[in-house]
């Protein structure tokens, strides 16, 4: 994505704001302009920050920008309202299916000649 879209989507990305269809109530993350179910208009929707891991895998074939620190886990997380989203895991050595996780703001990567820092949400195990 370009630098400008990193800026455009910053609020949604930092705060986990998805969208909800004003017609049928379907929820989506990343946010969408139209509802994939009914074609209706979407409004901003704050997703819950807690959920559990449904499936996870470890990315071992690493993409540019995410290749500085070696393999890392990604998951399908089911949030408390039932919305399922893809997300990075953090602060966890041995992820497990069903593990309770919460969204935290983290640095994702740096790029460009000025070393621009890109932030976003990762999921970590719920503490205690």
């Amino acid at each position: 994505m370009t630098e400008i879209s990193d800026w455009i989507y910053r609020i949604s990305r930092y705060r986990l704001i998805g969208s909800k269809c004003v017609e049928c109530g379907e929820v989506a993350y990343p946010p969408r302009l139209t509802c994939y179910k009914c074609g209706g208009k979407m409004a901003d929707y704050q997703l819950p920050r807690r959920g559990k891991i449904l499936y996870y895998t470890v990315v071992k074939s690493l993409p540019e920008r995410y290749n500085r620190y070696g393999a890392y886990p990604v998951a399908i997380v089911e949030l408390e309202d039932g919305t399922r989203i893809f997300g990075l895991l953090t602060d966890v050595d041995n992820p497990e299916k069903g593990m309770e996780v919460e969204a935290v703001l983290r640095k994702l990567y740096t790029y460009g000649e000025h070393g621009k820092i890109i932030y976003g949400v990762k999921f970590r195990p719920v503490l205690g």
Binding site: T57, V58, V59, S61, P63, V74, I76, F86, G87, G120
Partner: protein, 384 residues
Amino acid sequence: MGRPVIVGVGYTKVGEYWDKDVFQLAYTAIKNLMDEYGVDDVDALYVGNALAGYYDRQLALASHVADALSLYDTAVSTFSSGGASSAQAIYNAVLGVASGQFKSVIVGGVEKMSEELPAKVVRGTSLVENSFLVDYNGLTSFSLQALIAQMYMEEFGLKREDLSLLPVLEHENSSKSKHSQFRNRISIEMVLNAPPVAEPLTIFDVSAPGDGAAFIAVMDEDYARKNGFKYVKILGMGSASQPANPLERASPYMFEATSRALEKALSGAGITIEDVNHLEIYNPTSIAGLLVLDSLGLCKRGESAKLVGDGYFSLEGRAPVNTFGGAKARGDPKGAVTAYQFVEAFLQHMNMAGDNQIGDVKYSLIHSMVGFDISSYVFILGGG
């Protein structure tokens, strides 16, 4: 109204070309096509390419390929959509001929991937997915598909070994093919024990970067006949899309874009799937291959691995699939890959497939898709 037919093919072996750039590869394939089949009248040149803008910093590729060949009296268009780049080019070339605008089109694709660092290949091939969902989030095409593979295996009670059946079949087919990149036979155990890309997928479940160029000549049937060409007919085609995010789909492991595209293509050709006895499908991963086969309506969902295991799709089976190894073993030069599938179908129909020849090919199905079935293309060929 024109009736589109394929009169000739030109292609390079898929591999690593350290001494050739995209233009030299495209030149070789197009020159072979024009010389071998006597195609000298070209109304249009359509070129598929996925990654030159990202790797080579060269955009508007069709214009520069035409320039490299000094073909100036042609309409040119560039199509760039990952593994479906040349599918889109061919789809539109067929429309150009069907509309009567063109009598003769050279169309295909070219890709150069092998000199790029692995991290740039992984990222580059993942950029066809929604960038917010995948690229920004550190997901990749392969890890996204690995997660869906877990869901699919759980739902239908499949074992890891079931995923391996298709790559094993593809490498078997590739072992006899002269233009394929990977000609080694592999076993179910080798797939299982290979280094993981993202569990459950290993390097033998996924396609590898390759270089290559493949082009076909599409002509109007009357024009082709008058000029003495032998040909294979393009009888039907269709395309459809679905949400890029698998979690927004009715089922994350249902390829609805493929099944809708298939329906349109079959109805255009006036045949049913049972009439098809040869398939060249696009499956950059083993799981994607099973989901494509599931969506054809030949079996219940979740049962395509069993059909593969039963030999239904083997060279001597009822409907051979990926007869030269497919993306997995023939190779996956993204922007050219659908054009290779057309080349292979042409060779089968013209009885020119050598050791990979299947008997009595009636109708061929060619399938292509952007990413994980975001947009899909199906073509029906026959009547050679």
